[in-house]
Symmetry: C2
Subunit: 308 residues, 2 copies
């Protein structure tokens, strides 16, 4: 039986769209890229529109994938759902938890698929780490997520503004991996955040968490120059498991480092095709909830002004 | 058929325990107050212990009701659940969302009832407001929750500290009512918070929310002297409904104000008895989620020092 491919509109044609989404869509025969919506970007050979409303009225579509900056995602996703389209969202799916709940309510009412993606969970080492940890006793976890804001987010003033999440914009990737590999719920106990003068969001943070009996400590830093660190170490009753390079490299106790092909976005689109076929909802709010919890109870320290 | 009453331990013997919990327990023949745990408080004629661990090992119990200050509630609830006891929690149930999720996980594993209460939802006007609004089109909502911190929370320094929630300690009552009477999900769009110099939590806040097509605006203020304001006004296609006095007074369009007996805590204990019988979980995180969302995206303004 032949099944018609899913006519997809890609919303937000920037760096992540070109680096990740376009190749993944091109490599999946369940999708055909039917249109794009972007204020500036265009893709050769694909009809381009200014926004979702214009795109949806001009072009017959089944689904959209939204990879604009986080601030407008909720409104765009809501518009797409209300136009009867299935929706896939880059991480984080919105700037508040309650916005995501409102999207779930709207998607149920419209009977469309909704997929809030966490691409780091598809990194090569994450699935093997989850499988290895499943029958171990977790004793302690150390998360170090330290990168140079000027290198990865040059001039992105919004990231330190209200709703920009600051160092948790990359840090939420670590939380998405950790919630996915640990067998028990992770909960925030205390936190400190360093907020530069005149900014709303933190440039560094320490978060003390717990997962069943295990102590989980995370250090986030946006001012790391030189080598960059995206690592998670899990001490167990069978030794220490290490995930490095953002989850793409795994080292089990007594073994060598291992990695594999980068299939993060290929896997996300494969999953989205399944969700569209079932009109299903796949929403996991835990990474965003941990960030909200941290903002809720953190002790904020004012640190010196930051200029890009 | 006679059913044994539920042997209850009351944890935290302070003002709210004496004003509300003890009379509600005495008025419900499904419960017998078997013990208390408190660092200072005692109840005449009831065995008193220092904490849950001491109480649970000394005294056969079925359930506990926890009304200590919010900061230690999570650890106490977890200890009670792990001792196999059913648990009822004052509002807010913990200081973070993820702590509540961890309690749900623990309660499921222990097969005990868990009830995170929101007493304001049981105020006399709230049920009638929900019923009246159910078939109306909601156009706009205005929440004004303004009280004098020095009058209601004298010397409670923790309330303005990390995890104290500041003006959202009372304000979460308004959010618990609003989420319970509106037919659609409520979501946070933007917010400002006024934080006194040297404090972590806000003394005033404005929150812009949305519920389906309706604009929902909330003003929280901890510095209101003179008359105190705890009101919610809902504009609909059939006129404006007013809830005042913290939800205990309702005024439908064109009608007089109405109120009824205060049965808030009587209803909570009645519900808890049902949950215990079914070993069921009744946890609604929406009020706490809206507070966390507000902290996550708020624009913080530093205001002058506050002294009690």
């Amino acid at each position: 039986m032949d099944v018609e491919p899913i006519k997809l509109g890609l919303v937000g044609i920037g760096k992540i769209a070109r680096d990740q989404h376009l190749p993944a869509i091109a490599g999946n025969d369940r999708f055909v890229l039917a249109a794009t919506a972007s204020r500036q970007g265009r893709v050769d050979g694909v009809p381009g529109y200014y926004d979702i409303a214009e795109m949806a009225s001009a072009c017959p579509l089944d689904a959209v994938s939204i990879c604009t900056p986080p601030d407008g995602r909720y409104q765009q996703a809501l518009a797409a759902i209300e136009a009867g389209l299935h929706v896939m969202l880059e991480k984080p799916p919105a700037t508040t938890l309650s916005q995501v709940e409102a999207l779930v309510e709207a998607a149920r009412a419209a009977d469309v698929a909704l997929f809030t993606t966490w691409h780091s969970r598809e990194a090569a080492g994450v699935g093997p780490a989850r499988a290895w940890l499943a029958d171990k006793r977790i004793e302690a976890v150390r998360i170090d997520w330290k990168e140079d804001i000027r290198r990865w987010h040059p001039g992105q003033e919004w990231i330190l503004g209200p709703g920009g999440f600051g160092v948790f914009d990359p840090g939420i990737n670590a939380l998405s991996i950790t919630t996915s590999i640990l067998p028990n719920e992770l909960c925030v106990e205390s936190a400190t955040m360093d907020v530069p003068a005149g900014r709303a969001s933190p440039i560094a943070a320490s978060v003390q968490m717990r997962s069943a009996g295990a102590d989980v400590r995370a250090e986030f830093d946006f001012l790391q120059t030189g080598p960059q660190t995206w690592s998670i170490e899990v001490d167990t009753d069978h030794g220490t498991l290490r995930l490095t390079e953002g989850g793409s490299v795994i080292q089990r106790p007594g073994e060598k480092e291992q990695t594999d092909l980068d299939l993060e976005y290929a896997r996300l689109y494969e999953r989205f095709a399944h969700l569209v076929a079932e009109r299903a909802i796949d929403v996991d709010l835990r990474p965003l909830r941990l960030v909200a919890d941290t903002f809720l109870i953190a002790d904020r320290r004012s640190v010196s002004e930051f200029l890009f």
